[in-house]
Symmetry: C3
Subunit: 292 residues, 3 copies
Amino acid sequence: MPAKSTSWTVNPPLAHDQHLFAGAETLQRSCALAVAEKQEVIVRLLLGSPAWATLPLLVPPLLQIMKEVSRALGNAAADDSKLLLLSAVGSYFCSGIDPSYLIGRLSTDRRKESSRIAEAIRDFVTAFIHFKKPIVVAINGPALGLGASILPLCDIIWASEKAWFQTPSASIRLTPTGCSSYTFPQILGVALANEMLLCGRKLTAQEACSRGLVSQVFWPTTFSQEVMLRVKEMANCSAMVLEESKCLVRSFLKSVLEEVNDRECQMLKQMWSSTKFLESLFTYLQEKVYDV
Amino acid sequence: MPAKSTSWTVNPPLAHDQHLFAGAETLQRSCALAVAEKQEVIVRLLLGSPAWATLPLLVPPLLQIMKEVSRALGNAAADDSKLLLLSAVGSYFCSGIDPSYLIGRLSTDRRKESSRIAEAIRDFVTAFIHFKKPIVVAINGPALGLGASILPLCDIIWASEKAWFQTPSASIRLTPTGCSSYTFPQILGVALANEMLLCGRKLTAQEACSRGLVSQVFWPTTFSQEVMLRVKEMANCSAMVLEESKCLVRSFLKSVLEEVNDRECQMLKQMWSSTKFLESLFTYLQEKVYDV
Amino acid sequence: MPAKSTSWTVNPPLAHDQHLFAGAETLQRSCALAVAEKQEVIVRLLLGSPAWATLPLLVPPLLQIMKEVSRALGNAAADDSKLLLLSAVGSYFCSGIDPSYLIGRLSTDRRKESSRIAEAIRDFVTAFIHFKKPIVVAINGPALGLGASILPLCDIIWASEKAWFQTPSASIRLTPTGCSSYTFPQILGVALANEMLLCGRKLTAQEACSRGLVSQVFWPTTFSQEVMLRVKEMANCSAMVLEESKCLVRSFLKSVLEEVNDRECQMLKQMWSSTKFLESLFTYLQEKVYDV
């Protein structure tokens, strides 16, 4: 398993857990952007790849990551695991949609590409809305854009002291994604949700915790141990009780979230297919270049 | 009134308020597990009994307490009181459903008993959902399980510094009750609600206050005075304004809460009537015995 | 522009921003209770007037202020501005409905006046619900009653350390207004919302921030600069993105808020037209006089 062991090597804080997954069946060893491994009753899904850690400037192919994560969720739904643990390798949790990547795609074929990307986002978010087993998220570092906005679609969210959260959608000419237009006001209150969505307000891990986006913050050096300790204890619960509890908690939300997701992606598609929008995004990127 | 005066004696922090209820009509003096007293415009409902305080290991008959509380709410709804003050004698506020009690009941006649207990819980929770006058809760000590999960169905919640809150449903093989599958995510955010419901996370009084489950925390020594001071001030308000204000605040919630309560109790009944569940609960209780 | 420059003079903390609006088109220079000014893409709406600052005991004509604010929102909706900044001159943000004013009005013609005032409140609140551009609120000082309860209908809420928040509706014989019966429990949790609405609990700026009613608190001396800095940055965003983001965030709420507003105003009308209520309000005011 050379790919896998490299993956642990470039990510020291997680290395001590390696033995946990020693005998694990590697489901998707070939995929380099999201690696899912199942050990007994826990599926561990890691965003990122060794390549990210060594080449941080490389823009990751957005659509491929989203597809790989959705596929991993599909696999985990069908196997006999009790819960899914989502984390990331390297120093970032997730860096969100890159506006340069976006304009590159949209410049080639605006109509087709705007549909394609918006639908990929919709499918990715839908995979989270429909996943029936508990999703525990361990946020090792900064979570930006879509990587922050999907958090309320997961169930238990723990963060390292190093993590921070930002959804600067309006400033990069995007409307909210990942159902954040609905979940953020619900959790953070209208005022803070809008400050995040419209002004790009950055939340520290402690702020995110005191406002309810995450439920506990741990020290970076022991973060991984603390998470694994709790996840293993959770895995002692009955699979049926975990799934039925999640079902009760989500029952009223599911149809609302589906509708919100549709609206948000419809809005993205509509904006991305307008010339006026593309010009505004282009101007923004040019100004940004001059600023640097 | 020997039973009543004993009740005050075993609970020193409340003793100084005794004069308040000196001339009070004792509605249900005979009941030993939940005592309701009306003094002018306040009905004071006390969970527990002297027996609890002196024999803390005695398992209280769950169904009887729930029935007595529901009856007290029914009486208070019909009289000319303005509000209800709910508290408890002894060091605990409420200790929730005991899994040993549960397995004892279910072992005799699984099908009949699972229906009976689930319906008793549903009726108990319904009594809170439908109560039209403001309910003030003064949480003197630990509130566990159903005793914590019904809090958002009440209106004003004050806690002593000694109180803490836990709903370890999943770890004792239960799904959420008391509408907590809906109210906890609404109040605490999805992440903390799930950490409480799925991992049994314990909240201190201060944490519960900063996350919105309770609205103020007081020192144990002056807790009772602080509560009575505020309750008497509230009782100066017009009964009509209090009731209509509560009606407005609850109008959108009532039908949702009824549906949530039905679903939750349906789920309990379904689980309790499965052999697989009973075996899992039995194994859990056996492991617990070996742990101790 | 003598009226306008006086307005800045009586309000030193805002004086340094005067140059921002130097060349601004003054939309409603004649109105003395709410002044709206447009500068480039920002409409700045100031509650209060120099008269308030110099004659703080003067009771402002409630209906006129509400009408002027609604008109200013209507104008701002139609022009090419990107956002609205709402603040107030003087040391208060908003002092809410005065019970003496109320009883004065209702004593003349109970039926007609109760309809008139309730409908004026409904229209005022509706104007906020329907406003499509982001509303930033800068709360310079105490926000009472309707001035506090409409805040969740706005989008971004920043407060000076000097601000505090109170909706003592029940104690002055009022039921909730401004959709607070719905928005306060959503944001603050049921317990704190009811403590504010039923017991008149006062929140400091810091408490309001930690509970989600406001999203940031600034020092009074630099409050105005901090607000303007952020508002100008926000005004760099695309108008379309700002409006569509708000539309997504509000889409599920709009119809609910309309219904809540109708119910709340219906309740006010109903109470105000009852003799029993008027007697209760009269007794309250008399007791208050004796208290002082």
